[in-house]
Structure formats: C-alpha cells, structure tokens
C-alpha cells in the first residue's frame, strides 16, 4: 500500500547525510569522550564544537550561547526552571500562553504549584497571541515570558519580535520554544529579541534525543542536573556525541535549503488546503492562514470524530495526527483548539497534517483522492451528524 507520511511536526527521518556524519562517532574510529585529553577525546571535542557552530549559525547566535540537551522538552524545562530558580529573588511571576507545548505548559504549572504565579495569556480564534495581552499581564514581579514561535498543532507564527521588544523594554527575560520554527523560518535571536530559545534535532531530519537551549550571554540559569563540567556546568553529563553531530549536520542542511524547500512545501500546503476546502463541505482550516508555517495544515471536520478519521487514513496508508504526538497519546481534545474557542465536539474532529522533505505533489493528489471519500463515509455513520440522530440511538 502507498504510504504518505504527513506528520513531520511529530518527527522526521534522519537524512542520509546526517546519518553518514553520525556513524563514525558510534564506531571505533571516533567513539571518544570529548572530555578526554587524548586523540579520541580531542576528535570528539572538535566534532561537538563544529556542530555547535552550525546550530548557532542557524539561529544567529554565538556558539558559546548554545547548550546541548536531550531535546526540546529538556530545553523547555531548563529554560523555565532554570530562570525561575535563578531569578526568584527578583520576582515570582511568569507569563506564558494557553497554547504552548506541554513541555512549557506543564513546567509552568509545576512552578505555579511551587510558589510562582503564572499567567496564561489567551489567543485569538485564529490561534495568535496578542502582544497587548502579554503587555497587560506584566507586573513588577514578572521575571520571565515564554511564548512559542510556531504552534505545533495549528502552525501559527506568533509575534515573537514584538513580544521580545516588549520584554526587553521592561527588563524581563524572554524565552521562545522554537522547536517548530527552526529550519522552517529564518531565525535570528538578535532580531527576534529573545534571551532563550529551544530547538530540537529530530524535527529537522536529525536524530531523536538531541536538542539545545540558546541562552543569551549574561542571562543566568540554574541547571536541572548536577554532576560534571560539560556544557559549562549548565548541562552536565557526557555529551551524546553522535546525536550532537547529527543535530549539527541537520542544522547546516536546513539552513542551506530552507528558502527553496519552504517555497516548495508552501505550494504543496496551499494545494492541500485549497483542495480539501473545495472538495469537502463543513470543513474549516484551524489557525490563521497567513501567519502560518509552510508545513502545517490543520482541518476541523464537523460531525466527525477525529480518531475515526485518523484510523481510516492510517488504513489507507496516510499518517496524520490529531494534534501533537504527545497529545495524541492522551486522546483528549486539544488544549490548543479549545483555547482558540473551538467547541469541544469540533475540536475532537480535527486532524493535523504536516509536510516535509519526502512529500511530493503525488502525495497531495492521493490525499485529495482518499480523504473526501473517508469523510463522506464517516459522516454517513457518525452519531455526531444531526441527520443520523435517529439511527444513533
């Protein structure tokens, strides 16, 4: 059966070039510990340093501002917990948004239970944080603002530069979770006015278990772990050298190909959006169409349970999701869609498709052929369909 992978925001396959770069560091030729003084160690150290330069370049940072982590979740935790611990004497108020990834949301809630006050700013029905709302939420106690760059479920691009500007004027530290924007949007931490930024490797065709936190020079953070001098004591533990090397190579390739690849994917995305909107009735594009990353599509189908739709798509070889991969496991309506004011039942009937390198025009044609039939069939049997009420009893 034909397989079409449309869940690139959940994870991506490691690119052959990336795998090739990583392999020596798994094998005898270059397996060393970067902290060792002999040749094996030096070679590993060099690779880690070069990777750091590549990652830094992708986001316009200095290499010494990059701290490797086990991925986006750890980087988000380190940002929030690290700043909260380091600056709690200055104030105990944190601002974030209602549509953050759970790595930020749950960490903020944890801090909320441990002596911090947390404000979750709302979003517009289009899934956008408004700078005014952030501004209103600021108090004298505010030490940190954390707003994601691109939302993982609906792909909306948040006004990071403006929020960063605001934070800077008020002397507040600003973090952005850029897991879904790195490699997809041009990023420069100077222009965006961010102090901390989270990035992940496996969303850009690098290996899983690898990511980083950018920490602007001069910003203090307390580590989550203790135990060694790695990453200048902010993230101790022997470096995951192959994964770091892979992350570096993936970042390098993403930077080189971003303009052309995003242009290509934007066309495919628009074809998918327009195709579905014209072929299916009672369907809605969730999230702002303009302020949207080139890879994201999120549809809400009325009268359908998203779960049935996902399973039906899976049976036709189409890999999509109901929201973030982390949320899919919980099977409950997306907090992002609910925050956008989408009614409960409609939030249940939403499906995210995220495009990537391997997708072709033929993939989109296949989806446009299969999806309308599935929607029609499910609607004919759906207990949510008001026309079927009699049968549903």
């Amino acid at each position: 059966m034909r397989r079409v992978y449309l869940d690139h925001s959940a994870t991506t396959a490691v690119r052959p070039e990336v795998l090739e770069a990583m392999l020596p560091f798994l094998k005898e030729e270059a397996f060393g510990n970067p902290s060792s003084i002999y040749s094996y160690g030096r070679e590993a150290r060099k690779a880690v340093t070069e990777a750091r330069e590549k990652v830094a370049k992708l986001i316009g940072a200095k290499p010494e501002e990059i701290y490797y982590t086990s991925g986006g979740t750890e980087a988000d935790n380190l940002a929030l917990m690290g700043v909260a611990a380091a600056y709690q004497e200055r104030g105990r108020h944190i601002i974030t948004s209602a549509i953050e990834h759970h790595a930020v949301l749950d960490t903020a809630q944890y801090l909320g239970r441990h002596g911090f006050k947390v404000t979750f700013v709302p979003v517009t029905p289009a899934g956008l944080v408004q700078v005014e709302d952030v501004k209103r939420a600021i108090t004298d106690e505010t030490i940190l603002i954390s707003i994601m760059h691109v939302n993982n479920e609906v792909g909306t691009i948040q006004p990071i530069r403006e929020i960063g500007q605001l934070a800077r004027e008020r002397g507040i530290i600003f973090h952005t979770d850029a897991v879904q924007s790195v490699g997809k949007l041009p990023i420069n931490v100077e222009e965006l006015n961010v102090d901390l930024l989270t990035a992940s490797s496996h969303k850009i065709y690098g290996p899983k278990g690898s990511g980083c936190l950018y920490v602007r020079k001069g910003i203090r953070i307390k580590p989550l772990f203790y135990g060694g001098a790695q990453e200048r004591k902010r993230r101790p533990g022997t470096e995951n050298v192959p994964a770091i090397v892979g992350f570096g190579r993936a970042a390098e390739l993403a930077g080189q190909e971003m303009d052309s690849e995003m242009e290509r994917l934007r066309r495919l995305r628009d074809k998918l959006i327009d195709g579905v909107l014209s072929r299916v009735e009672d369907v809605r594009l969730n999230g702002d169409r303009q302020q949207r990353v080139a890879t994201n599509v999120n549809f809400g189908f009325s009268y359908i349970e998203g779960e049935s739709l996902l399973l039906s798509l899976d049976m036709k070889g189409i890999c999509a999701s109901s929201g973030s991969a982390c949320t899919s496991g919980s099977l409950d309506p997306s907090h992002v869609l609910l925050a956008m004011g989408i009614p409960h039942e409609e939030a249940h009937g939403s499906v995210r498709m995220t495009l990537g390198r391997d997708n072709t025009e033929a993939d989109i044609d296949y989806v446009l052929e299969v999806l309308p039939e599935i929607v029609e069939r499910l609607r004919a049997m759906s207990p949510l369909n008001k026309d079927n009420e009699g049968e549903a009893k």
Binding site: E305, E307, S308, L311, S312, M315, L331, D332, R377, L378, M381, S382, P383, A392
Partner: protein, 375 residues
Amino acid sequence: MTTATRKPRVMVAMSGGVDSSTAAVLLLQAGYDVTGATMALLPHDIPAAAGESGCCGLSAVEDARRVCSALDIPFYVLNFRELFEREVINYFIASYLEGQTPNPCIACNRRLKFGALLQRARALEMDYIATGHYARRWFDNERGRYLLARSRDRAKDQSYALYTFTQEQLAHTLLPLGDYTKEEVRWIAAQHKLPVAQKSESQDICFIPGGDYRDYLQKKVPQTIKPGPIIDVTGRVLGQHRGLPFYTIGQRKGLGLAMGKPYYVVALDRTRNAVIVGEEEELRRRVLFSRANNYILWDEPPSEVRVEAKIRYRAAAAPATLYPLEGGRARLLFDEPQRAITPGQAVVYYQDDLVVGGGIIEPLEYDGFKPKSKQ
C-alpha cells in the same frame, strides 16, 4: 477492495487478558482480518493503580498492545472517556441516588462495547467487533433471527450481562469463546505464548479505586446523600440511616437496630428518603416488575411465556412466568419466592440455554406500607 473477495474484518475489544487475547487468536485462525482495540474509558482523576483491575485500565492498554504486537495485528486505543462518564458513571451515581442498585457493566456493554465501539468499528469498515465474553451467538434460520445463549462452560457464562443485544448488534458481533471452556482458552493462550494470567475478575467497579462505592458516592455527591428514618413495613420508625446509597436490599449488618430478631433492608423508599426494614420472610417475593425490556428470541413476547429468570449475575435461574406489559414493561411471577430482589439490577430470562431477553427490576410501589401487588 471489494466486499466479495476480501477477508471479513473484525475489531477485537482487547483487555490484554487471556480471554480477549485468545479471542483474537481464534479469529485469526478462522481466517479473519483482525484488528485489536482497547477503549480508554477511565477518567483522568483515577490514580494509576486503579487501572490494574478491570478491563480497560492503564495496564490493559499496555498488555493489549503487547499481545497485538505478538500476534502481528494492528492495535488502536480508542477514546470513549466522555461517553463512559455520561453513560456509565453518571448513570451509576443517579441510580444509587434513586435508591436502586445499578449494574455498570451492563450499561458499559450496551452503550460502550456494543454501542459506540461497534459504531466506530463499522465506520472503519469493519464487518464485526468481537469480545472475549463467554456466551454463544448464531443466526437461526428457522426463526430468522440472531440468538444468544449461555456459553458451553456454564461456570464462566456471561450471557446475563449481554441481554441488551439488539439484532443489529448481534449481526455484527462475534463471541469466539462461547464454545470453549476456560481451561481450553488457557491452553490455547499458552500455545501462543500469550499472557495466561487472569485479569482481576472481582466484582470491583473499574472506575472506583479500592472498590468502596459508598465512599466514592460520598466524595462525588456529598450534598445529595441525606440521613433519614429507618422504618418497618408498618411505618414504625426504628432508627436513623446515613443515606440511601449506603444500604442494599437484603443487608442485615450496619443497621444499628437492636430488635431481638434479625432485621433486613427490604426496600429503599426514595420519596420519603426511608430505609424500610423487615424480617427474613419479607425479603422473599414471588413477583417483580421490570422495565426497558429487550428481547432476543422475538421482537416482543407473543404472550405469557415460561422462563427461568436470574435476578442478579450470580443468582441461580429460577422458574417463572413472564407476562409482557405495555411500554416495554413486564411482570414476572416466580414459582417460588426469591430472596432480595433488588431494584436497578437486571433480570434476565432464559429458556434452557437460550437468552430470551431481560430488563431492569423496578422498585416496588408501596401502598401504605405494604406491597401493592401481592401474588
């Protein structure tokens, strides 16, 4: 893909236990295209440990996933939490507040397994769903109907909890274990290196950690549980009760009465918020009324019929005559008095092994303080 050439497709409701796992094996051997599914039902506020018992807890999902992986069949987790809360938990609470004793497993079978799950499976172009219940189902040409019967293994028979089957549901449901004994099922599971350990089959209610439903109700709806009088069948006040949900028909202990002879709860009167007690003989009745009857043998009984009826899951079936009434109600006259007939519980009628149908036992109406209908 046309219906004519492809294998029949079946979605097996999996708990990861020996029964549903073996059901999947038997269907694979019979040539079905098998998909496994576990329903996510329990509310998030239930601690993880509670998932250890029952058919759909946290461990069920992991166990079922492992079994499906071993059998190399697709596996899905389907979310029915909201429906479960509405149709099972809320019904359960409301029933106790009515002074009745609910049967949440039957509600779950009816609304979830053979309701929403079947509907979901059909929407996914499955021909059938299957479960690991011990009961038999087949199409009877003579009657032109699907029939339901006790399992071959009488000791394991679960047909009592399945009386709500409609013809449409039966047409799309497979019960592969109906012709097997528990020992055979264990043996088949062992042959396929599947888990043979028994999942808890206690009468515990899956959404009540620890199984203390009184405690659960006290926490869930404290304001609606009110103390009231304990009275005898003549209306004499004998004491105070803590709230109707804390008592069940036939209960003797915990009444706090010193009467010289044993007294039992014989009824819970919601209109007066009273617990009515009486002596052993007043617990025994020959007649009951049932509502919301569903029949499997026919759409409606042709006239009065002789049956054997079970008034609770573990009760022995007792000979009786069933008199159909208007509006889905029925009157059941037992040959011999039955002890502690409990409103809210299901009464299921049989003819030999065949399930005739069943309904919900109605509370007795009291006229004065004596049962209105004395048969």
